[in-house]
């Protein structure tokens, strides 16, 4: 055919690129058998690299073909010459793919429209976590509310999720992210929040707990630090408050509490990662929780979540002197880690903070215990040092799931053993 010869001489074969930039998808409408035959012959010209999405079969059926950029001119000439009618279905395939990709990313967590769209298998920025919190409240207005207990040093709201089925209930507190580099904790906290909202009314054990207790969950307990780990230094641990007279920034929020403050398990040097701060509760992130605990007055369990080391710790951290309830706390810790291990085989050790990991002075759970909150525990989540703080995101859900079993063990025991 003369037309085909023209085509063949005009066209220069070009090596195909990986992207689809400039590719068009044409919808061709053949009006008779002759045109169908022509299209079939066109489809056999391999050098054009045409990709028929709908092959030429019959004049009643449309013919869809992806045409690489370099073949557009010859193909359109061919169609025009033979008076074969066509529409441009897709003007630039790559543009369309890019748009779809963006849509996909949006629905995968970058801009989720609901907590069902949220990507629990990845780490998130502070803004994304705060959006998540607002969405969860919006979706579960009867069960979930947001309390702002204070402001961080840099003025960020300290957001606490409150899960409550009625007034004047005793409370259980869970915090994650007090040390900002421990990313697995904020990620797990987010998962816990969704878990609680989902399981209420569906899981009998959790429902029984919530019918008696409020649960308070602070996901990003050190938001200034967390933002800093995203933008500047992934290994940042402390708050971001400058220290007068020093070039070093920040206080270890887990050495700033009133019980055991100043002890050997903390540092007086502002440059140290375990710097206790100039005085008790000098950090607003800590003071806000202290004020909340005191004004609530009826918390029965306090669970502070860290990483890494795979440990479940009870008071004290400042001293080797066993706390009054150490037998019960030890038994409960033992049960909790058996439950934890049952899911994925993860082994935890347990004991008092002082005995198990190191002397730590002025820590959260020493203070909360001394306030009368008997079930005060510190968790150290995965792993034991292979990845440490940089735990791969594919471990977020398994870690959250197994930790949840330990939390449930402690919460159930709290419910069943009122004091």
């Amino acid at each position: 055919m003369r037309a085909l010869l023209v085509l063949a001489t005009v066209f220069v074969a070009v090596f195909g690129k990986e992207t689809f930039e400039g590719h068009q998808v044409l919808r061709i409408t053949a009006i008779n058998e002759v045109q169908i035959k022509l299209l079939k012959e066109l489809s056999e010209l391999e050098h054009l690299q045409l990709d028929f999405w709908m092959e030429p079969i019959h004049e009643d059926l449309p013919v869809d073909v992806r045409v690489p950029f370099q073949s557009l001119q010859p193909v359109r000439s061919f169609l025009a010459y033979n008076e074969i009618y066509y529409d441009i279905m897709i003007e630039d395939l790559q543009d369309l793919l890019d748009m779809e990709q963006r849509e996909m990313m949006r629905s995968c967590g970058f801009l989720p429209r609901s907590t069902n769209d949220y990507d629990y298998t990845n780490y998130h920025t502070l803004d994304e976590i705060y959006s998540f919190i607002d969405m969860l409240v919006q979706e579960n207005p009867k069960l979930v509310s947001k309390i702002v207990i204070g402001q961080s040093y840099e003025g960020r709201p300290l957001n606490v999720l409150k899960f409550s089925t009625g007034d004047n209930h005793p409370g259980i507190w869970i915090d994650t992210g007090i040390h900002s580099r421990e990313w697995i904790t904020q990620a797990s906290g987010t998962w816990f929040a969704k878990k609680i909202a989902t399981d209420y009314g569906r899981d009998s054990a959790l429902t029984a707990i919530l019918d008696k207790f409020d649960i308070f969950l602070e996901i990003s307990t050190n938001p200034d630090g967390y933002d800093y780990t995203h933008k500047t230094n992934r290994m940042w641990r402390k708050t971001r408050k400058p220290n007068p007279g020093s070039d070093c920034v920040g206080v270890d929020p887990n050495r700033n509490w009133g019980t055991g403050f100043g002890g050997g398990g903390s540092s007086s040097n502002p440059c140290s990662e375990t710097y206790r701060g100039p005085y008790v509760n000098s950090e607003s992130e800590v003071k806000s929780i202290v004020d909340f605990v005191k004004s609530h007055g009826n918390l029965k369990a306090f669970l502070s979540i860290h990483s890494y080391s795979q440990m479940l710790l009870y008071p004290y951290g400042d001293t080797s002197t066993p706390c009054k309830d150490h037998v019960e706390l030890d038994d409960l810790a033992k049960k909790a880690i058996i439950d934890l291990k049952s899911l994925h085989g993860t082994s935890y050790t347990y004991g008092s903070t002082y005995d198990t990991i190191y002397q730590a002075s002025g820590i959260t759970t020493d203070w909360t215990y001394d306030q009368g909150i008997k079930y005060s525990y510190t968790f150290e989540l995965r792993d034991t040092g292979s990845y440490g703080f940089l735990l791969p995101a594919d471990q977020i859900i398994p870690t959250a799931q197994e930790t949840w079993l330990a939390l449930m063990a402690i919460m159930e025991h709290t419910k069943n053993n009122p004091y």
Partner: protein, 256 residues
């Protein structure tokens, strides 16, 4: 190797490394049986871990312990504090490889840091077999013009490019030399991140790399930055030289 070659995060001011000033209660240790799960036994077991990785670690093999079964101490007076351990040693990449070993760690007494002396009983288990992977890796990166260069392994999200995994393992094995040297009864180290790796020209039939690594010290919670020159070959094992402690990054708030 100049110290300021390694980048501190933006907005940080480099200061002279400050000495750790912990006022931690000095450990009062007498000869006694230890809880194998608690910190004294765990720190000593980690010293054993560093030791065996200096000897037997490779880009494809790292050793660790899955459990401490028994532990006790013996006060040697002037000579130091001795730990006796029964531990299960495992190959990190071979789940079924647990083997029970006895080990001894002697921490010397003294004001300045000196490494512990370590001995372990199950040498024959730890002696590596020649590995096809190692030979292939060695050949590939011995090729003329090979110039591996990377940073932040793993990245902030814990991701590692599969091709970089052997380099991370090599960093672990090499860091073990430093971690062992720096160990005492008040330390516990892990490799937090490989900050930077640059391949140097091979010499004496060894692959050579310059590494900058971040070590996490558990008791002080410090991130300590080290530079080191690492050589490796399947026959020669891991060798480390030119270790250099890098200045701390202190992050000043931005001036308005």
């Amino acid at each position: 190797m100049s110290g300021d070659e390694v980048a501190c995060p933006a907005n940080c001011v480099l200061l002279i490394h400050s000495n750790k000033s912990t006022t931690e209660d000095s450990l009062v240790m007498t000869s006694r049986k230890l809880n194998p799960d608690y910190y004294e036994a765990q720190r000593a077991a980690n010293a054993v871990r560093y030791y065996i990785n200096t000897l037997y670690g490779t880009p494809f093999r790292l050793l660790s312990f899955s459990k401490v079964h028994e532990a006790r101490t013996e006060d040697l007076g002037e000579a130091g504090m001795k730990y006796y351990l029964e531990i299960s040693v495992k190959d990190c990449f071979n789940k079924s490889s647990d083997r029970r070993c006895s080990a001894e760690v002697v921490y010397p007494r003294g004001e300045s840091q000196q490494p512990p002396q370590v001995q372990i009983s199950c040498d024959e288990f730890l002696q590596p077999n020649a590995s096809a992977e190692e030979e292939e890796f060695f050949k590939r990166y011995s090729a003329a013009g090979s110039a591996v260069s990377a940073k932040d392994i793993p990245d902030s999200h814990g991701r590692i490019d599969p091709e970089m995994v052997p380099f991370k393992n090599l960093a672990s094995a090499a860091s073990s030399f430093i971690m062992l040297n720096e160990s005492n009864e008040n330390t516990l180290f892990n490799l937090a991140q490989v900050a930077k790796i640059t391949q140097l020209e091979s010499r004496d039939d060894q692959l050579r790399f310059e590494y900058a690594v971040l070590l996490h010290e558990m008791i002080s919670q410090e991130i300590i930055r080290w530079k080191m020159l690492v050589s490796w070959s399947p026959a020669g094992g891991v060798k480390v030289s030119d270790t250099e402690l890098l200045p701390r990054c202190h992050c000043k708030p931005p001036t308005p």
